[in-house]
Amino acid sequence: MTELVRIATTGSVDDGKSTLIGRLLFDSKQIFEDQLVAVEDASRKRGTDYVDLALLTDGLRAEREQGITIDVAYRYFATPKRRFVLADTPGHIQYTRNMVTGSSTANIALILVDARLGILEQTRRHSFLASLLGVPHLVLCVNKMDLADWSQERFEEIVDEFRDFATRLDIHDLRFVPISALEGDNVVNQSERMPWYHGPTVLELLEEIHIGSDQNMIDVRFPVQYVIRPHRREYQDFRGYAGKVAGGLIKQGDEVMVLPSGFTTKVRSIETFDGPLEEAAPPMSVVITLEDDIDVSRGDMLCRPHNQPHASQDIDAMVAWMSEGPPLKVGAKYGIKHTTRWGKAMVKEFQYRLDVNTLHRDETSETLSLNEIGRVRLRSTTPLFFDEYRRNRETGSFVLVDEATNVTVGAGMITGEGS
């Protein structure tokens, strides 16, 4: 059985990210002849003397004209073991917004370092963002080993330096691979030129990293998405609550509490089109029926009575600002979407802005502009039922929407209850 795994890659033009992705796609036979011919043609037209694999997905006219990636590009590849969704984002600081987006659902972050240059400001930035967005596994690919004499010493220097820096981050699973994306060493196949390295290749890691514990399997969280009431004779009394399990293992017969009403009842059944299930876990979409006929609607949440999420109108959160429009500031009001619940929220307090390169907290700042990240306190019109983001990415995240334009302007990761 193949698992679905989401990867986020970030990098700049020079660190060989396109080459690495190109290799992964080539070697897993995901690039088709007509795509390759089109890219070869385009590369020739632009006067580059190598096949520029970035052209494979830099599909928008503006991207081709400017030779840059301006958006998250999604690429897909598969091996017999796993099916990968790869969110490829440009690495320049002005694209922090895209990096945040690409990392938001990722299981694995792939970050590239040029072996000659070592850990740079952007390496720190990318790693910090992966950590902030709660990506559970980080793979640091030390690339261009061919230009560093395949040196074990150089590799270990970089590993040490990165480990040192990573103690300041919230990363639990950190891996290092010395590679040459250009020559293919340790990308798919083991390198013969680095016999001192006995670990897995990049693709082997992507296939092997255990992702089963990435989702919260402890705290039962079921945000109700839609109430299903069939007007059909054979299902006359059916009343089901559709949703995607956001945490924990829900079992038939479990006692559950409905928030915000606080009523408790039991799970009568877990239904799907393909038949009833005994239990459901993230990320499954199911329909739950309850023993008692109580009022439940979209935006409500089911949980276990002795393991409830926080319920509060005041939340502290790290917010990444995604809008070119007016900056976030104290007193501003936004639409907020959290799980399946919409409300309004006001910025009550600005705590600090974070320098994404140095992790320095600037407590004198009072606004967040495009690509800036900071910690704020929000007050919402109705209570939100949430967990800390680091405990649950589904119930710990929200987006802020400009109510005048309906555009999504901010992405939030809840750090706790505001008091």
Binding site: T2, E33, G59, S104, T105, T408
Partner: protein, 302 residues
């Protein structure tokens, strides 16, 4: 407490069902575009699953160029009847007759691009605010950058440089009157996923997807079906061949190829060794320019 990871098809299915429910919960008047092709058949199947045991809570719309494979129209009508769904047909023929669009001329004339007007016209007339489509990010490079919830202004236009950020599984479907969202529940599926799922679920498809004997002629390296809608160029000749079609669209721009794959499993085998994308192999409409799809999408195409 390690629960078993769902298979990638189950995970994709769950994601798609979540998207469909979310779009319906946050809209007034959704509709599902159905061409009879495998991708729209898949979206329809997922939509049925999303609301089971209730019936499909929205109508299905076919943008009909009038240049259809008979087998596809049969399939469409049968599917809609089985689901007891409501079918809306947006007719390109009618748009031509009413003078809203002008038909292309010449042997390479196609009504493909004219579909945009009929689609937008129908969205406007029925006041649809969510339009489900079967586009996938892996099929074409302009589509690789499209959001799952993709905003369209009051002219139905897509602005690729000004798309809403989309994070986690938090979709923002907010829009004003007259604007609408295109929603693509199978954005993250690949052609192979679609076929594997069709195989696993026994989803029915029009017969033109499977190997059959047909009168065809060769154009631009593709085998076009003989039909009243395509005029032969001087050097073109009709012959009989065993073919199948990898995508199903308007007959004037959908090409087939020689194939013996008569079952879904044989198609999977064929797709897994294919070195050409399905659009490259079978869609004349995407060959006109490098940015052909982006240009059509900006105007409001599916």
């Amino acid at each position: 407490m390690a629960a078993v990871q769902p298979s990638h098809l189950r995970a994709l299915e769950s994601e798609s069902i979540h998207i469909i429910r979310e779009a319906v919960a946050e809209s007034e008047n959704p509709v599902l575009l159905f061409s009879g092709g495998k991708d729209s058949a898949l979206v329809l199947r997922l939509a049925v699953k999303a609301f089971w045991p209730a019936r499909l809570p929205f109508p299905v719309m076919h943008v009909d160029t009038g240049h259809n494979f008979d087998e596809v129209i049969d399939f469409r009508d049968r599917t809609i009847a089985e689901l007891e769904a409501n079918l809306i047909v947006a007719s390109v023929q009618e748009a031509i007759e009413q003078g809203r669009v002008v038909e292309e001329t010449g042997p390479r004339a196609s009504r493909n691009r004219l579909q945009t007007e009929s689609l937008l016209n129908a969205i406007d007339k029925h006041r649809f605010d969510v339009v489900f489509g079967g586009a996938r990010r892996d099929e074409e490079k302009a589509r690789a950058k499209e959001r799952v919830f993709s905003f369209r202004d009051e002219f139905g236009q897509w602005d690729p440089k000004n798309q809403r950020p989309e994070l986690w599984s938090l979709y923002n479907g907010r829009h004003r009157n007259g604007e609408h969202m295109r929603v693509f529940p199978i954005s993250n599926w690949t052609e192979m996923d679609v076929w594997q799922y069709i195989d696993q679920e026994g989803v029915e498809l029009p017969s033109v997807y499977f190997s059959h004997r047909r009168r065809v002629f060769e154009r631009d390296g593709m085998l076009m079906a003989e039909s009243p809608y395509l005029r032969l160029l001087p050097n073109e000749e009709v012959f009989e061949a065993v073919v199948r079609f990898r995508t199903v669209g308007d007959m004037t721009c959908t090409g087939g190829f020689e194939s013996r794959a008569a079952t879904v499993q044989e198609i999977i085998d064929e797709v897994s060794i294919s070195r050409i994308t399905e659009r490259g192999a079978s869609r004349a409409d995407d060959r006109t320019a490098d940015a052909a799809m982006e240009d059509r999408k900006r105007e409001g195409y599916f």
